[in-house]
C-alpha cells in the first residue's frame, strides 16, 4: 500500500495545479484523488479495459465489499457479512453442535427404540431450523446504510452551515411522526442524518436501520433485515434446549428405572454434560425469547427499550409512534413483513470513472455518471481507511515511530486541497473544535473523516455519546486538548507549515502522512 502511495507522488504533480483551481466543487477533489489513489501506478494501461481505471493495481476488477468502509468481515466473495469479532459466534456454534451431537448420538437411540422414533425426528427438524436461522442471522446484512457520497455530504454540510446556531441545533432535525416528535441525529462517520430508529454501531462502524443491538453470540448486528432471523433463532433454540433437556432427563429416568441411577449415568455419561449445558442455557435463552416477544408485540427495538424512548415515564403523552396499535399486526409486520434488499450492494463491481476525473483536472466537470462516482468514492474511502488504520497501528507501536516509510519526506499539501477524505472539503473550518492545539493534525481541510477513524479506533464506545454535535457553536477555540477522547480536531485556519517537513504539493497521501505525524506527536507527548 505504501509503495502505491509513493508511486503516485509524481503523478500528482500536474494534477495539483489544476486541483487548486477547483476548490469550489467538493465532488471534484475526490474524482481526481480517486484516479490516483485507487488507480495505483501511472501505467498507461488505458486501452485495455475502458470502463475501469487506467491503471489499477490488480488485473481483476474489484468488488465493493473489498472497499467497504465499515468494520465488517466478508466471506465467500462478499456474500457473507459478519462483524469483526467472531470468537463468541464460534462458541455458540460449538455449544449447539456439541450438545445436539451428543443428544443424537447417545440419547436418541435409546429414546427411539424405547419410546418413539418421532423424538429424534422432531429433534432433527428443530436442530436444522436453529442452525438455519443462526446462519441467516449471522451472515446477512443487518440493514447497513451506505455512507454518503462526497457530494451529498457537502450538500448537507452546506445546509447545516446555513442553518447556523439555531433551534434545533444544526446537526439535528426534528420530524413529526404520528404525532410524536422524533429527533434525527447527524452521523459524523457516515455523513448522513440517520433515519428514525437507525443507530450507529460502534463495533461495526456502520449505521444500521432499525438497529436493535449488536449481538456477539451471533457475530453481527441485529437490525431491520435480520431481526426476524435472530428472533426465530432464539425462539427455536429455546424450544431445542427445552426439548433436549426434557428428553435427556427422560432417558436417564427410564434407564435408572431399569438399572439404577448411578449405572444409568455410567452408561450414558454424555447426558450429564447435556443436562448441565441445557440447564444453564435455558434461563438466559428463554428469558431472551420472552423479552424479544414483548419487544416485537410492542414494535420496539432493544435500543429504544433500554433508553426508554417510548416509556410513559418520560411524559404522559409519550407513546410509540411506530406501533400499529394491536399486537397481531406488530408481530406480523416484524416477522412476515416484506424483506428489504441490502442497500450496500456488496458484490457490485467498482468502476472508476476515468475520463471524467481526467477531464476534471482541466476544470470542466466532475463525473457524469452518479453510479460510477459512488464506486470511485468507495475507492477513496478504502484508501483513507486502509491508510489511517495502517497509521494507527504504526503509531500504536513505539517501534514504528522511526519507520522511514511513515516519516518519509512528507509531502505536504495545500490545506485547501481535498485529498481522498475530503467529504467536507470546503466547509471544514466550520466544524466545532475543542482547540487541541497540541494534538492537531496539520491539515484543517481534510481531517475530520480520518479523525473519526482515530476516534473510533480508540474509543468505540464514546462515539455514540460524545460526539461533536454536543459541542455547539459556542465551543471555545482555545488550546484545550481533549485527551480523553483523542479529539484531534482541525484548527479553523491552516497552520504555518512546520519547517521540518518538506512540502511537496503533489501528493494526496500527504493526508495520511500528516495523520501519522500527528499521531507520532501524540504518542510522544
Amino acid at each position: 500500500m505504501s509503495q502505491m502511495h509513493h508511486a503516485t507522488l509524481d503523478h500528482h504533480h500536474h494534477q495539483q495545479q489544476q486541483q487548486q483551481q477547483q476548490q469550489q466543487q467538493p465532488g471534484q477533489y475526490n474524482q481526481i484523488c480517486t484516479r490516483t489513489s485507487s488507480c495505483g501506478s501511472p501505467a498507461p494501461a488505458e486501452g485495455s479495459e475502458p470502463p475501469s481505471c487506467p491503471a489499477h493495481r490488480s488485473r481483476n476488477p474489484r468488488r465493493k465489499w473489498q472497499v467497504f468502509p465499515g468494520r465488517n468481515r466478508f466471506y465467500c466473495g462478499g456474500r457473507i457479512m459478519m462483524a469483526r469479532q467472531t470468537g463468541v459466534f464460534y462458541l455458540t456454534l460449538v455449544l449447539i453442535l456439541l450438545t445436539s451431537g451428543l443428544f443424537f448420538t447417545f440419547d436418541c437411540p435409546f429414546l427411539a427404540s424405547n419410546l418413539t422414533p418421532a423424538i429424534p425426528a422432531v429433534g432433527g427438524i428443530l436442530f436444522v431450523f436453529v442452525m438455519g436461522m443462526l446462519f441467516r442471522a449471522s451472515f446477512s446484512d443487518p440493514g447497513v446504510l451506505p455512507r454518503a457520497t462526497p457530494d451529498e455530504a457537502a450538500d448537507l454540510e452546506r445546509q447545516i452551515d446555513s442553518a447556523g446556531c439555531s433551534r434545533p441545533p444544526p446537526r439535528t432535525r426534528e420530524v413529526l411522526i404520528n404525532g410524536q416528535t422524533v429527533k434525527l441525529k447527524y452521523c459524523f462517520t457516515c455523513k448522513i442524518f440517520r433515519p428514525p430508529r437507525a443507530s450507529h454501531c460502534s463495533l461495526c462502524d456502520n449505521c444500521v436501520e432499525r438497529f436493535d443491538h449488536h449481538c456477539p453470540w451471533v457475530g453481527n448486528c441485529v437490525g431491520r433485515r435480520n431481526y426476524r432471523f435472530f428472533y426465530l433463532f432464539i425462539l427455536s433454540l429455546s424450544f431445542l434446549t427445552i426439548f433436549i433437556f426434557a428428553f435427556v432427563i427422560t432417558h436417564v429416568i427410564l434407564r435408572s428405572n431399569r438399572t439404577g441411577f448411578l449405572s444409568a449415568l455410567k452408561d450414558s455419561p454424555a447426558s450429564v454434560l447435556e443436562v448441565v449445558v441445557c440447564f444453564f442455557s435455558v434461563w438466559s435463552i428463554v428469558g431472551l425469547s420472552g423479552f424479544h416477544t414483548y419487544l416485537i408485540s410492542s414494535n420496539q427495538t432493544t435500543n429504544e427499550d433500554i433508553k426508554g424512548s417510548w416509556s410513559t415515564k418520560r411524559g404522559k403523552d409519550n407513546y410509540n409512534p411506530y406501533s400499529y396499535g394491536n399486537i397481531l399486526t406488530n408481530c406480523c409486520a416484524a416477522l412476515c413483513g416484506p424483506l428489504p434488499p441490502s442497500l450496500i450492494d456488496r458484490r457490485g463491481l467498482i468502476q472508476c470513472d476515468t475520463p471524467h476525473t481526467v477531464s476534471q483536472s482541466n476544470g470542466t466537470s466532475s463525473n457524469s455518471y452518479a453510479s460510477t462516482q459512488l464506486h470511485s468514492h468507495m475507492c477513496d474511502q478504502d484508501q483513507c481507511i486502509q491508510s489511517t488504520k495502517f497509521v494507527l497501528q504504526a503509531a500504536a507501536t513505539p517501534l514504528l515511530h522511526s519507520d522511514p516509510v511513515v516519516l518519509a519526506p512528507l509531502p505536504g499539501k495545500t490545506t485547501t486541497l481535498g485529498g481522498p477524505c475530503a467529504y467536507l472539503a470546503p466547509t471544514q473550518p466550520s466544524l466545532p473544535s475543542c482547540g487541541g492545539d497540541v494534538l492537531t493534525l496539520r491539515d484543517a481541510a481534510v481531517d475530520s473523516h480520518c479523525h473519526h477513524h482515530l476516534h473510533h479506533h480508540h474509543h468505540h464506545h464514546h462515539h455514540h455519546f460524545v460526539s461533536p454535535e454536543e459541542t455547539p457553536c459556542t465551543t471555545p477555540q482555545g488550546a484545550l486538548p481533549c485527551p480523553a477522547h483523542l479529539h484531534l480536531h482541525p484548527q479553523p485556519h491552516p497552520p504555518v507549515p512546520s519547517p521540518a517537513t518538506l512540502y511537496d504539493p503533489a501528493s494526496q497521501d500527504a493526508l495520511h502522512e500528516d495523520s501519522v505525524r500527528g499521531l507520532v506527536k501524540l504518542s510522544s507527548v
Binding site: E152, P196, R210, A333, G337, L343
Partner: protein
C-alpha cells in the same frame, strides 16, 4: 492521454451542480421522498412534473413495503421453506425495485434528459436521496 481528455469533453456535458431530494420521515420509517420543489430546478423543470415524478416514486416504494395478505403469505412461505425459495424467485420488494428502475429510466429519457437533468435511482444512494444532476447548458452536448 490528452486525446482522451478532449474526446471526453466533447461527449460529456459538464455537471454544473447536483440537487439532493431528501427523505420525508413524517410517515415513519417507510421510504418516502420530499415533494418540495427545489429552487435550483426552477429554470429547467415544471414544478408539477417534478412533483408527479416524486409522487409516483413514493407510491411505488409504498407498494414495495406494503403490509398485506400478499406480503404475509410470501413471508410465511419463505419461512417454511427456510428462505431457500428466494434462490428461485425474487422478493416482492425486488420486483418493485426493478419497476422503479424502469420508471426512472423512462422519466430520464422522456422528461429529464431533454432538459439537461439526470435522475439517479435512489437505490444507488442507499435510499437516502434522489440525486438530480444538473448539466451545464451546452449547445453541443445537451441531452446526452
Amino acid at each position: 492521454m490528452a486525446e482522451t481528455h478532449s474526446l471526453q469533453d466533447l461527449q460529456q456535458p459538464a455537471v454544473s451542480s447536483k440537487v439532493f431530494i431528501q427523505r420525508d420521515y413524517s410517515s415513519g420509517t417507510i421510504c418516502r421522498f420530499q415533494t418540495k420543489f427545489p429552487s435550483e430546478l426552477e429554470s429547467r423543470l415544471d414544478k408539477q412534473q417534478f412533483e408527479e415524478t416524486i409522487q409516483t416514486l413514493n407510491n411505488l416504494y409504498a407498494e414495495a413495503e406494503k403490509l398485506g395478505g400478499k406480503s404475509y403469505l410470501e413471508g410465511c412461505l419463505a419461512c417454511l421453506t427456510a428462505y431457500t425459495i428466494f434462490l428461485c424467485m425474487e422478493t416482492h420488494y425486488e420486483k418493485v425495485l426493478k419497476k422503479i428502475a424502469r420508471y426512472i429510466k423512462d422519466q430520464n429519457e422522456k422528461i429529464y434528459a431533454p432538459r439537461g437533468l439526470l435522475l439517479t435511482d435512489p437505490i444507488e444512494r442507499g435510499l437516502r436521496v434522489v440525486e438530480v444532476t444538473i448539466f451545464e447548458d451546452r449547445s453541443i452536448g445537451s441531452g446526452r
